[in-house]
Structures are given as C-alpha cells and as structure tokens.
Assembly symmetry: C2
Homo-oligomer: 198 residues x 2
Amino acid sequence: MFSPAFDDLVQRLRVLPGVGPKSAQRMALHLLSRNRHGGLDLAHALNHAMHSIQSCVMCRSLSEKEVCNICASNDRDQHLLCVVESPADVIAIEQSGSFKGRYFVLGGHLSPLDGIGPEEIGIPLLLSRINHEEISEVILATNATVEGQATAHYIIEASKNLPIKVTRIAQGVPQGGELEYVDSHTLSQALQYRLSVR
Amino acid sequence: MFSPAFDDLVQRLRVLPGVGPKSAQRMALHLLSRNRHGGLDLAHALNHAMHSIQSCVMCRSLSEKEVCNICASNDRDQHLLCVVESPADVIAIEQSGSFKGRYFVLGGHLSPLDGIGPEEIGIPLLLSRINHEEISEVILATNATVEGQATAHYIIEASKNLPIKVTRIAQGVPQGGELEYVDSHTLSQALQYRLSVR
C-alpha cells in the first residue's frame, strides 16, 4: 500500500500464528505510528532468539546453552524423567509446580502418514538415556489425544525390557469440571481409574 | 523460562496490539519450533520498515520516499483533498476504490486534555497546502466519533475564509444495516440527510 517495506512487513507478520491480513496491517500501522522503538526491539529479540536458541542435547527442549538449565540443575530429581510432546508442555508442567524431575521433549508425536516415525521424535535418544542414566521412572505426559496415546503406547512397548517403572499421567475430570458437560470418554476413564478414599 | 533470549522475545512480542502473554509465548514457540526462517525474515522486515518508512512531507501518511506515491502521482485529482485521521483510513478509502484525489493525514484528532492541539495534528501544514495548491474541495473524512466530529468542526472554522468547498463524508445507515439494530443517532442523521429519489 504505502511502500514495498510496508507491504513486506505486513506479509512477514503473517508468519505469527493467529495473525491474518487485517491483524498484520493493524500491527504494522501500530508499530510505525506509535512504537517504532518497540518494533526495533522486537526485531532485535527475534534475531537474537532465532540464532541463539537451539535444542538441548539431553532433553531436546529449547536452550541457549548446549545443556538446558533444567537438565544441568542439581536440584532436579535425576531418577524421574517426564516425556512430553513439545516445549510448551514443559512450560505448562513447570507452571503447575508439581514436578521436580527432568524432561524429554519428543518435538511432536508419531504420525506415520506424515513421515514422522520413532527416529524423528527422538525415541533412540530417549532409550539410550534410560539405559545409561540412573532413571527409575519414566512419566509419559504426551497429550490425551489419539496421537499422544499412540505415541505413549509405542514408548511403553519400546521400553518393556528395561528395568524401569513407566507411568502415564492420570486422565479424569478436570478441576472445575461439571459432570454434566464432561465428555463420556473422560467420564468412563474417571470411573475406571477411581481412587479409594477410605 | 528456557533462556533469557526466549523470555526477552516473549516480552517484546507484546508490543504488538492484541498480543497478551499467552499469545506471545505461543508465537515464540511456533517460530522457534517450526519457522525460524520466517522469524528471521520478520526481524529483517521490522528493521527495514522501522528505519526506512517515514512521513510523507506533503500528506503526513507513511512513505519510504520524501513524497509518497499518491502525492507524487499525476493520475490523482489535485483539486480534491481528503482529510483523514490515520494511515489506516487511507488504506480503507483506497480499498473502497471510490476516491481519486489526494489525502492529508492528521495522525490523530484534537484532544486538548492529552495536549494534542492543532499543531500536533498538522493543521498549519493543511492550511498552507490549501493556500498554495490548486485545491478546490476539502473532504473531511475524520471518524464519526465525538473527537472526529470536533476535529472536522475545527477545520471547518479554520478554513472558513479560504475560497474552497469543504464537505463532510455522509453519515447514515451502513450497507447491510437493519434499521432495527441501527442506533438512534445514526437513524436520525439518516432521516435528516435523506436524499430525493424522484
């Protein structure tokens, strides 16, 4: 519209998830009219992050160092390994404050049709870590979706001869969930895995 | 969370309008996990746009050149000048395809309480252009808000001794508007400025 640099900026802003042509235009106009300093800071932060953040060689999560803070920490329980699909899941679990072990990030789930097999989601590295480290329990925290369950199942099979405990995070009624609105699969899981309270 | 560069990126993404902490985190993870190339391109486009796009010296809209494409074009009617509040309004009118004159961008509206007076929205430049160019009609296309109306009214007063026609864009029922849902002020404007059709 105004210039090639403006059109290019609007186009590039659309790489952000959830940003369509109208939002991109609004963002570009906002930065140019009211916050050029913020725009330049964002450009710098993007450049720095894209170049400096890589995968941790131990857990495959995001890190600026070769080994991420969580893997390098002596305060984390080295016997517990929590397997998740993505770095976002690590953030979610850390924010819950209820896990003090370490993580392994698959970076996706098994999806043979898309050419994503065990190698692509780091299963060989996971098994090698279980073999060579003092891990006593692997907690499977892949998503409660069909693909997440299938991936968890694959790991259970692949590790069945290893001398470790393998657990799966509980499925059931979420906090604040009203039974009336909970889907029937979740309810049947909640009933099947009911806990003894007395 | 993962590293200072990650936290910094999430923080900087929040300069974008409509982006809160959760969206910013999702955007950062998306770029890092799936589209680093897109992230670098965006950084480059931001840098380039923030440095190269300035205000057109004639119309105060956004431009990479001293005089923007619209002001420099010989195909635009030099007798018509449309006054709008922001560059976004120029885009909206251009997209309607129904105006072939040139623009003047105020860059806001009068707001004495915020220290925004006639100088800040370029009224002296506007009056000087009307005086020195062959402008025969000024179309006031400020927003149909209280502030936009007050700004239009100020321009009408300031230009009352100049030998030009001053018009205001029509107010009325918008296309597709159902009378039942149109506010009463709009309806009263639509009735007051009714057009003779036969």
